[in-house]
Amino acid sequence: MAAASSPSPTFASQSTSPSPRPAFLFNRPFLPSPSNLSFSSRSFSSSPLAPLRCFPFRRTAITVPCASAEVSSSAKAFRGLCYVVGDNIDTDQIIPAEHLTLVPSNPSEYAKLGSFALCGLPSSYTTRFVSPGATKTEYSIIIGGANFGCGSSREHAPVALGAAGAVAVVAESYARIFFRNSVATGEVYPIEVEDRVCQECQTGDEVSVLLEEGGGRLINHRTGKEWKLNPIGDAGPVIEAGGIFAYARKTGMIPSEA
């Protein structure tokens, strides 16, 4: 558990703003969060006055111990426990095929997918991403090696990670479909790092991911080490608009929400 006054991932403990709100969800034009993408069939307000991407199932205050991503007031940082994996973590390890009968756009099945996140990892991973019996993870940040998310195009992969409570993956490189799906759904931020951080961090370390203009930083609070993160780059106009659907609405390609 992060040592913080406010473990809930929704509220920013260091926020200068008085009222609690999903602080970390706005003001990040360069991040791949389709911020206006009301994900799946969670019926949230589609009025223009509620522009924020809202994830009621995983971002609202949760009383069970779970991934706590503390967020700073600039809403560009995550802090929480990290879970470390190696290279070539393929989609079968992220969400084994037998669970693909779960439909992500169905709210109860979405939550179930989260409970199976990374259950395909071999038994050599003695600490599991989601503890047996739990439905959510304690680890909000996943640290990986090269080619994270390789294999299938199943969108269930980033969805399962997000549904479990992860907010970001920090890895050396990504397989393209996984990266694309992460961006399109906004479930997890696929952040790139050049250093071999998966060998310098241990599962359970408290880390911070700071996303800044032109790049960012990963900080391991246990060791004090810091690494540079690559800027998200790619698909700029789409990300700025807030995802493919928001972009398409903005440019008139599709009519506004029916």
Partner: protein, 511 residues
């Protein structure tokens, strides 16, 4: 667009091939680009050499150095209505065909309705192809429900191409059911040169064998395409693979792609296009080309392409009447890298557990005892794949030493097993040869156990076993059990291994 006559020069016209926008690498047989706008059988299409286009400079016919593009760049340029594209550009691409199946369809439809409205209609009811194939023959309720969800959506949207299945006890009782999506797409004429095909499955890249841009996308992207008919894509740079030399009689396309993946690794082609050219590629039939392109994603590739030629056009003759326009890399197009292989020097390969790039010579694994053999999937369950396996069983005349599972990709393949005569067998069919060899009888067509699936899936690996498989991935747990060991191999190698009970080089039987 004007139906311009495309060009089929004979070798005597090579001199100006750059002006004709033809690839400079094609050697023996130049592609004959015939336009098929509803060609009836018996009517001869005479290909003529057209004068250089003056009016509309379509990407295919511009050959000027200024606009030199690779095949993938050209296809995306045409689909995004831009005269020129360079790798790295993000463009909005018109989609010709969107495919989905039972695993990702429900999620994609859910997103479509959420974003475009409960009463929204898909952008084109004839361009969406819905193919249940993944978890079909199972009692898993959710899996069955997912096929129902497909049906409800297709009914409501009046989707033209929905290969439905309602009677799970007998696939033949379902007039529309086909089987594995990528093979069904090809067999039903949905793959055409020069087009853009997107699918909610990583092996959508298989269709690149037809000289089109084909790649896998997720549910959200698919939901978007369902409504908008287009998608934002980044133009990939192209890696060129030149495969030359006569294909030895013990090698198949699977060996070629395993060679390449082993060479460049599972991330060697990430975000890139893989273009396959050379005399060996030209000698491959369509199904072998499909195998080649199928595993492009295993190298991280965005898409794979094989230039369309007479083999392609011949295959398409009886499958589609839609006109298409093949596109080819310009002679001066820029490729990121070029790899050359002398195929005649290659040997049968396997990919050892647990990665498709864990390449090894089959003969060096001859001490690996195996528990079972699986022949199936979009990668290795086509008619050609079964014919190849049958060839090895025929040559041996013996029985298999381990359970050998046969899962034809589609209903057409299943039929072929029972009707096509195996060369050199005196008129026997594949099924007869398989029966004599002691294989399990061919199962209902579909994806089967390639990706594990629900627990009751036929041939699923429910215990830690060692399996030689003609499938495409062998990451931990791929076919079910996390400790299962999967050796990816060609149908020749799989059949040879079944006969010995060990990983076996097919030359033991084919020479």
């Amino acid at each position: 667009m004007a139906a311009s006559t495309t060009i089929c020069p004979s070798t005597s016209f090579i001199a100006n091939k750059n002006e004709l926008g033809l690839s400079g690498f094609v050697t023996s047989r130049l592609p004959c680009a015939k336009r098929f706008g509803g060609v009836k059988p018996g009517r001869k299409v005479v290909a003529v050499m057209a004068p250089p286009q003056k009016a509309e400079r379509l990407p295919a016919t511009t050959g000027s150095v200024k606009n030199a593009m690779t095949m993938t760049e050209k296809i995306l340029a045409k689909a995004s209505e831009k005269p020129k594209l360079s790798p790295g550009e993000n463009v909005w691409v018109n989609v010709d065909v969107l495919m989905t199946h039972d695993v990702c369809g429900p999620g994609s439809f859910g997103i479509f309705k959420k974003e475009f409205g409960q009463n929204a209609k898909v952008w084109d009811r004839e361009k969406v192809v819905v193919i249940p194939d993944h978890y079909i023959f199972t009692t898993d309720e959710r899996a069955n429900r997912n096929v129902d969800i497909l049906r409800d959506f297709c009914k409501e949207q009046n989707i033209k191409y929905f290969y439905d299945i309602t009677d799970l006890s007998d696939f033949k009782a379902n007039p529309d059911y086909k089987g594995v999506c990528h093979i069904a797409l090809a067999q039903e004429g949905h793959c055409r040169p020069g087009e853009v095909l997107l699918g909610t499955d990583s092996h959508t890249c298989t269709a690149g064998a037809f000289g089109q841009f084909a790649t896998g996308i997720g549910n959200t992207d698919a939901g978007f395409v369902l409504g908008a008919g287009k998608l934002l894509l980044k133009v990939p740079p192209t890696l060129r693979f030149v495969l030359d030399g006569e294909m030895p009689n013990y090698l198949l396309a699977k060996d070629l792609i395993l060679q390449i993946i082993g060479e460049i690794s599972v991330a060697g082609a990430t975000y890139k296009s893989m273009e396959f050219v050379g005399s060996t590629v030209e000698s491959l039939n369509m199904e072998e080309r499909m195998t080649l392109c199928n595993m492009v994603v295993e190298a991280g590739g965005k898409n794979g392409v094989v230039p369309a030629d007479s083999t392609t056009f011949e295959y398409l003759k009886d499958k589609t009447t839609k006109p298409y326009e093949p596109l080819y890399s310009d002679g001066s197009a820029r490729f990121l890298s070029e790899y050359r292989f002398d195929i005649s020097k290659l040997e049968p390969l396997v990919a050892k557990p647990h990665s498709p790039d864990n390449r090894a010579l089959a003969r060096e694994c001859k001490d690996v005892k195996i528990d079972r053999v699986y022949i199936g999937s979009c990668t290795g369950g086509k008619a050609e794949d079964f014919l190849a396996a049958a060839k090895v069983f025929l040559a041996s005349g013996k029985k298999v030493k381990v359970p050998t599972f046969l899962v034809p990709a589609t209903r057409k393949v299943w039929l072929d097993l029972y009707t096509l005569p195996v060369p050199g067998s005196g008129g026997k069919t594949c099924s007869q040869i398989f029966e004599e060899a002691g294989c399990d009888p061919p199962a209902s067509p579909g994806c089967g156990a390639c990706l594990g699936g629900p627990k009751d899936t036929y041939a699923r690996m429910n215990e830690a076993k060692v399996c030689v498989s003609t499938t495409n991935r062998n990451f931990p747990g791929r076919m079910g059990h996390k400790e299962g060991q999967i050796y990816l191999a060609s149908p020749y190698t799989a059949a040879a291994s079944a006969l010995t009970g060990y990983v076996t080089d097919p030359r033991e039987f084919l020479q």
